[in-house]
Amino acid sequence: MTTHPDVMPERLGSGEARPDATAATRPFYWSVRRELWENRSVYLAPLAVAAMALIGFAISTIGLAGRRREVLLLDAAEQRAQIGMPYDMVAMVLIVTGLIVAVFYSIDALHGERRDRSILFWKSLPVSDRTTVLSKAFIPLVVIPSIVFALIVTVHLLMLLWTGLVLVAHGMSPLSTLGAWNPLEQSAILLYGLVVLMLWHAPLYAWFLLVSGWARRAIVLWAVLPLVAFSALFRVAWGSTDVCALLLYRVVGGIEEAFAFTTGGTVTSVSQLTPGRFLATPGLWVGLVLAVVFLAAAIRVRRNREPI
C-alpha cells in the first residue's frame, strides 16, 4: 500500500505539510495499559488487602518484645515457625487475593467489551485480535503476579522495619527476626512459587478468556459448568472420580510438584524447591498446550464475535 499522494488539502493544517505515516506505535503496550485503566481492581484490590494486613500486623505487635524473648528460647525450627508465621500469612492472603482478582478479570475480559459494544471502537483501530487477546491474557499471567510479588516484598520489608523498631524500643536486637526469617531467601521462594502458579494456572485463565469471548451471558456458569458436568458424568457413568481429582490437581497440583513440603506442610528454605520435578510433570506441559489452544481459540472467537 502506498502512502498518501501529495494532495493534502490546505484547509487541514495551516499550510504546513503534515508528516506522513507518523509515530511508531506500540499496540501491545497500550493495550495492556488500557486494561489497567479499565480494571483498576487489578491493583487496587491487592493494595487494599495489603493495607489491611499491615494494620493487622501493627496491632499484633503489641506485646511483641515479651513474646520474642520467649520465642528465642525455643529451637531453630520453632523460632522459624513462630517468627515467620505472620510473614507467610500475609504472603498467602495476597497470593489468594491475586488469584481471585485474576479469575474475575479473565471471566469478564472479552465479555465486557461486547456487552458495552466498545468492541466496535477497539476494532476500528489497527490492533489485531491476537494483540488484544494476548494483552488480556498478559494481565492474569504476568501483571497480577508481578503486582502481588512487589506488594508482598514491600509489605514484608515494612513489617521487618516495624518489628525492628518495636524491638529496639524495648532494648532488644532488631536482628533476631532476620536470623529466623531471611527476606532474600523468602522472596526467592515467593518468586518461584508465583511463577509455578502462573504456569500451572495458565490453562484455567486461557479457558476463562475463551468462555468470556464466546458466551453471550452467564459466563461464570459456562466457565464452570462443563467441568462440573464432566466430573458428574464420569462419576455417575463409571463411578470414577478421576475428572474431579483432575480438576483439583489443576488447581493445587503444581504447588505439590514444585515444592518438597516438610511434614508440617511448610516451605521455609530454598532447598525445598524442586523445579526439576515440576518441569518434568506431564501435567505442566499438557496444561501449557491447552493454554495455547484456548488462547488461539479465543483469538478466533474474538475475530468472529459481534457485540451482544
Binding site: P9, T22, A24, Y29, P126
Partner: protein, 290 residues
C-alpha cells in the same frame, strides 16, 4: 483503483439472507450515502467492508481483503459505528493517549484542536459526557486520523438537530477532501441530502437504486399533477404516486421534463420521497408475488 469494490457480495445469518449478491464500486473522493429501511443489510454491508464479518463473494477495500487483513486495513480506514461505542469507563485523555499509542496516522494535536472547540474536559469520563459530546469526541478522534476511507454507521442517531448539523458541517469543512472517501448510512435522509455526492438505496440485501447526486435532477422528476390531467399522466407510468392535501404527486424516472410540465408543476424529488417511492414499490412487488 476503486476504494471499495464488491462483486456478488453475500452474507447469510442462518436462513436470513442479509446481503444478496451486492455489486458496488466506490471511488476516491466520494461521499456515498447508503440508505435503507431497518434490516435492509446496511450494517451488514459496512461490517463486511470493515472486516468485522466474514462473507461470500469478492470484496476489496483499498486493495485488501478486509476479513483477512483487518488490522492493516484499519490504518487507512476510520469508522464510527454509532453513538454508544466509546468505552464509558474511559477518560477523554485516556482515549487520546490510547489512539495516539496504537494508530500510526493519528495526529494528536489535531484532535486536541477539535476538542478545544467543544466544552469537553480532558479529565471527564465518557460516561459523564452527553450523547452529543460523545459524538463530538469520537468525531475529533476520527478526524485526526489521516484515513482514506471513513465509514459512518448512523453517526448522528439520537442527537438533536443542532449537533447533527454541526456533525456534517464539521465533516465537510475540516475533514473531507478529494483524496478521501466517506461512506455513511443513516435514517435521517433529508439532512444529508446536500452532503452526498452519491446515493445508494439498499433493500432486502439488494441495491435497488444507485445514482450520483448530480444526476438525480436529470433522472427523476416529481410532478404535482393537475386533476384534469391525471389519467394522461398515469398513462406514462409513474414509478410512484401519492396524494398530498388532495393533489396527486407522481414521480417519474427518465421522463421528458417538458412534457411532464404540461401536467403540472415539476420539481426534483427529495431523497426521502425517492426513498419511499423506490422502497415502497419494491415492497409492493414483493407483496404481490407472495
Amino acid at each position: 483503483m476503486a476504494f471499495v469494490e464488491a462483486r456478488g457480495l453475500r452474507k447469510r445469518y442462518g436462513n436470513t439472507v442479509a446481503l444478496d449478491g451486492i455489486n458496488l464500486k466506490i471511488e476516491e473522493g466520494r461521499i456515498l450515502g447508503l440508505i435503507g429501511p431497518n434490516g435492509a443489510g446496511k450494517t451488514t454491508a459496512l461490517n463486511a467492508i470493515l472486516g468485522l464479518t466474514p462473507y461470500e463473494g469478492e470484496l476489496t477495500v483499498l486493495g485488501r481483503d478486509p476479513w483477512s487483513a483487518r488490522e492493516e486495513l484499519m490504518r487507512d480506514v476510520a469508522f464510527i459505528a454509532d453513538v454508544a461505542v466509546l468505552p464509558r469507563w474511559m477518560r477523554v485523555s485516556q482515549a487520546l493517549d490510547y489512539v495516539a499509542g496504537v494508530h500510526p496516522r493519528f495526529d494528536r494535536e489535531r484532535a486536541e484542536g477539535f476538542l478545544d472547540r467543544t466544552t469537553i474536559k480532558r479529565a471527564s469520563k465518557i460516561r459523564e459526557l452527553s450523547k452529543g459530546m460523545v459524538v463530538q469526541l469520537h468525531l475529533a478522534l476520527v478526524m485526526a486520523i489521516d484515513a482514506r476511507l471513513l465509514v459512518l454507521d448512523e453517526p448522528t442517531l439520537g442527537l438533536d438537530i443542532l449537533f447533527r448539523k454541526q456533525f456534517y458541517d464539521s465533516l465537510l469543512n475540516d475533514y473531507f477532501d478529494r483524496s478521501r472517501t466517506i461512506l455513511v448510512t443513516t435514517h435521517s435522509v433529508e439532512e444529508i441530502q446536500d452532503v452526498l455526492t452519491d446515493l445508494m438505496f439498499i433493500d432486502r440485501g439488494r441495491i435497488v437504486l444507485e445514482t450520483p447526486m448530480d444526476e438525480l435532477e436529470s433522472r427523476y422528476a416529481e410532478v404535482l399533477v393537475r386533476p384534469e390531467r391525471l389519467d394522461e399522466a398515469r398513462a406514462l407510468g409513474p414509478m410512484h404516486e401519492r396524494t398530498l392535501v388532495g393533489r396527486s404527486i407522481m414521480l417519474f424516472e427518465r421522463g421528458d421534463r417538458q412534457r411532464l410540465a404540461t401536467f403540472g408543476e415539476v420539481r426534483t424529488p427529495g431523497i426521502a420521497d425517492l426513498f419511499v417511492a423506490v422502497i415502497g414499490r419494491n415492497g409492493r412487488t414483493e407483496g404481490a408475488t407472495r
